[in-house]
């Protein structure tokens, strides 16, 4: 579900950042208004909590384990807007620090999981739990189903983003430049995993934590259920739910965006624009494209609705637009945007309708008191310890005296951004390999050993992306160059190139991003982000999230260690699940309590809700030149690799 770098074209990434931006903006505005100064510690601590929750291995039926994102819990406890921010922040930290999800794909990942996920799970929770009292089993189910469907809708978004890549972005010979599978492959492949494992994990964590909160801290459920039966008059009044006037700006923004999408794609262009420009002028390539397009006809499995939508979008344009706008590919892209837009809009509509519904008569609320069981959780424990070690290792490396460590963090931020962008924009494998080599040289000069890179980055990426890329060798249509003995599967030239592109891009981007992390202290990185006019509030929240992520990793580790030490025998899967969920619940309780206390500590030192940060010092000529050097290198690579 966390999309790595190199799977999506730069233009797709750009469009998704643009799609996420109005939500982030609105969420920030709304949250600042409703939660005042409590917002900063609350969001930070909750983001840290989501981060740690994503590391929990949840035992699933059938003996496997899965990870949840936690959007169900976040959107129920915080409301959809704050949840979007909290999960986005957790995703950013994951991408930057732990290489889960690409840096260029942050917009896509946040859009799928944080924004669409939060909205869907919140809407479903409100819809299904509508008339139920706060402590009812129905709310537990509502949370579970909300989480299950939300993560599946998020996965569907990701699948669509993947699936449109080969149609839109391939080289003249037909080799896909990014994710190589069409919708007919990407949708079933993504959904299979999410309808089963990941969906169940999300179901368990959402339902489980809501059940836990019903017993321990039902006040936290009040925000997302303002109409539910009252059980405690001392509960503070909840901020209002999504209302139409407040959402109006967002609606307008969304509508505008959907209209602008075609223009945006043209402007951002990238691979696709180039492909058209080149091929339309060159008769030979044109013939080639035509041949390839024959192979790339929309697959049969594509939902009818999408196809119809695509014709709706392309039809009115056809008379005035150049030929390529009439292509099916373009229609797909736009339809995907429309489809996602529809999901989001219907969620907003649902929550708006719910907010207008009359309150319900109170019913009795009976807390249930199930005992907590113990069980083993070695996998989670291992994951937590690894994450902590990674953080410590990164901090130690950043203190070393290598080449990159000496650069201003802003130079590194600009430099790495330029190189990652080049790595995902180039169309030539040789140039991509050149960028990769440059990254390796920089690493060695910064005292990062090849062994570290191999174990931390290359192997991990190769294992993950390799498995994904391998079938593309056979599945991509094109000229067969080799047939597998016995099976007689054709290996196509296009397929090999596609797999090579995907793996090399993912490796290069991951190597570059770990360079940034291993040579720059997080606080310096935050300063760098701040100096490129990133909102101060978010910089502060990112800083606090990082600080508390480590604390929660420690708390979670201690919790699991103490459980492990008391383990006797093997527990039934259901007990293991209960244990994982109650651990998550305890962590949530601690998180929220901590956020209240931290807020007081902030107040006592003069915090009134307005974030103030020290500006960075001037960068100096030498550093500017360095930054310019990086950018020039990136630009050169893009030009050479066009």
């Amino acid at each position: 579900m966390h999309i790595p770098d190199g799977y999506l074209s730069p233009s797709t990434c750009g469009v998704l950042v643009a799609a996420a931006a109005p939500f982030w903006y609105t969420a920030l505005r709304r949250v600042q208004k409703t939660l005042t100064s409590r917002m900063v510690p609350l969001l930070s601590v909750f983001a840290a909590f989501s981060f740690v929750i994503m590391m929990f291995n949840l035992p699933l039926p059938g003996g496997t384990t899965g990870h949840a994102v936690g959007m169900g819990v976040a959107s129920i406890v915080l409301g959809p807007w704050a949840s979007m921010l909290a999960i986005s922040i957790a995703l950013v930290i994951q991408a930057v620090f732990f290489g889960d999800g690409g840096i260029t794909a942050i917009g896509a990942n946040c859009f799928n999981m944080a924004i669409v996920g939060s909205l869907v799970s919140y809407a479903l929770y409100r819809l299904i739990g509508f008339r139920a009292t706060l402590g009812s089993a129905r709310r537990v189910m509502a949370a579970g189903i909300g989480g299950y469907i939300a993560i599946n809708v998020a996965a569907l978004c990701a699948a669509i983003e993947f699936g449109i890549q080969p149609v839109l972005f391939h080289d003249p010979a037909g080799a896909p430049l990014y994710a190589p599978y069409p919708l007919s492959v990407s949708i079933p492949a993504m959904m299979l995993g999410h309808l089963t494992l990941a969906g169940l994990a999300e179901f368990i964590i959402s339902a489980g934590i809501i059940a836990y909160l019903q017993r321990t801290d039902p006040g936290l459920l009040r925000l997302s259920a303002p109409d539910a039966a009252d059980y405690d008059s001392a509960t503070p009044a909840a901020p209002e739910a999504i209302t139409f006037p407040a959402a109006r700006k967002l609606w307008l923004g969304m509508a505008l965006l959907l209209i602008l999408t075609p223009l945006g794609t043209l402007a951002v262009g990238g691979a696709w624009g180039e492909w058209t420009a080149q091929d339309l002028s060159d008769p030979q390539a044109r013939a080639e494209i035509a041949a390839v397009s024959g192979n790339r006809r929309p697959p049969d499995l594509v939902p009818r609705g999408l196809e119809r939508l695509s014709s709706v979008w392309t039809a009115p344009l056809s008379r005035y637009a150049p030929a390529f706008i009439r292509s099916a590919a373009f229609g797909y892209f736009v339809s995907a945007m429309v489809g996602v837009g529809l999901i989001v809009v219907s969620c907003l509509l649902a929550s708006w309708l719910l907010a207008k519904s009359p309150p319900k008569a109170p019913t009795a609320w009976a807390p249930s008191d199930r005992p907590r069981r113990k069980s083993f959780v070695e996998k989670t424990l291992r994951g937590l310890v690894e994450a902590m070690q990674r953080t410590l290792f990164a901090e130690d490396m950043a203190m070393a005296r290598g080449l990159l460590q000496r650069f201003d963090p802003r130079v590194k931020l600009i430099g790495v951004a330029a190189l990652v962008l080049a790595a995902i924009a180039v169309h030539r494998i040789s140039v991509l390999a050149g960028i990769f080599l440059a990254a390796v040289v920089l690493a060695v000069l910064s005292h990062i050993s090849l062994g570290t890179l191999a174990t931390r980055v290359w192997l991990a990426v190769a294992a993950f992306t390799g498995v994904i890329a391998l079938p593309a060798i056979f599945l991509t249509p094109g000229e067969p160059v080799f047939r597998l003995p016995l099976l007689a599967w054709p290996v196509t030239l296009q397929g090999v190139r596609a797999a090579a592109f995907l793996i090399l891009r993912a490796e290069t981007a991951a190597t570059l991003s770990i360079l940034l992390v291993l040579t720059t202290l997080w606080t310096h990185l935050l300063g760098a982000i701040r100096s490129v006019r990133f909102p101060a509030v978010l910089v502060a929240i990112l800083g606090m999230t990082y600080r508390y992520t480590f604390l929660f990793l420690q708390i979670a580790r201690d919790m699991f260690e103490s459980r492990e030490s008391r383990l006797v025998g093997v527990l039934a899967p259901s007990d293991r699940r209960r244990l994982a969920v109650s651990s998550a619940g305890v962590l949530l309780d601690k998180s929220l309590q901590l956020s209240g206390e931290v807020h007081m500590a902030m107040q006592s030192r003069g915090f009134r809700g307005q974030i103030r940060l020290l500006d960075e010092r001037e960068m100096g000529v030498a550093n500017w030149l360095l930054a310019a050097g990086f950018v020039a290198f990136g630009a050169l690579a893009i030009w050479l690799g066009r």
Binding site: Y546, Q554, Q603, R608, Q610
Partner: protein
Amino acid sequence: MKEPREPAAAFDVKDVSFRYLDVAALNGLSMRIQRGERVALLGANGSGKSTLLRLLAGLYFPDAGEISFFGESLTERMLENEQFFYSFRRRVGMVFQNPDIQLFNPSVFDEVAFGPLQLQWPKAQIRERVGETLDLMGISHLRDRAPHRLSGGEKKRVALASVLVLDPEVLLLDEPSAALDPSSQAQIVEFLVSWGNRSKTVITATHDLDTLEDIADRCYVLENGAMAAQGTPLAILHDVALLERTKLVRPHHHVHREGAAQPHPHLHSHLSE
């Protein structure tokens, strides 16, 4: 604010009660703390001393009764006034017991700079003042460290630095020496003894009787949210019955020469009389 005689007490607490949702934490408590006084709040866990500190810090507000700060009533409404808010926060510093609460910034430098930034000091002055404070506390070498890379004693020093950077008139300390090794404990106490040259008001919540005489001129003993006793450290330390009742010491079982085991209060404080 340095006039020789200011009539109002630093804090005047009158009949203050405070409840958490369902638990009463303070019941009709009254006390007067003069400017420049060093006061210890003694009491077992849950006796209400942390709550009292938070009331004095203007973080909680009494359900009944009144607290005034240098003659001005300390209410939620008063603190909504921006001018009073900033002047109060500047004059009253609070160090929380739990370093995970006190230290919420990603690095030591950011932590110490947080207060001055909120009070909108000029940025150049902030850098300078933060540097001085780090030097004063002997933690300059930690400036880029994350809180999770600090030892317990270092955390406490950073916590103190983060408050002292504002040079407050009143310092509220919640268990400053709890969970520290003896050497770090001694460092903190030494620092507190020398800090401010007796012109500062220092209010310390503690149940550490060993350092009582060093850090306080006067003690209040709290029990279940009410005042159990007050007096000089020496007088309080001698009142064994009081200390036992308020769970500050525990009857110490040990075998006497006669061979009979018997409960017998056993103070380990340095009573030099």
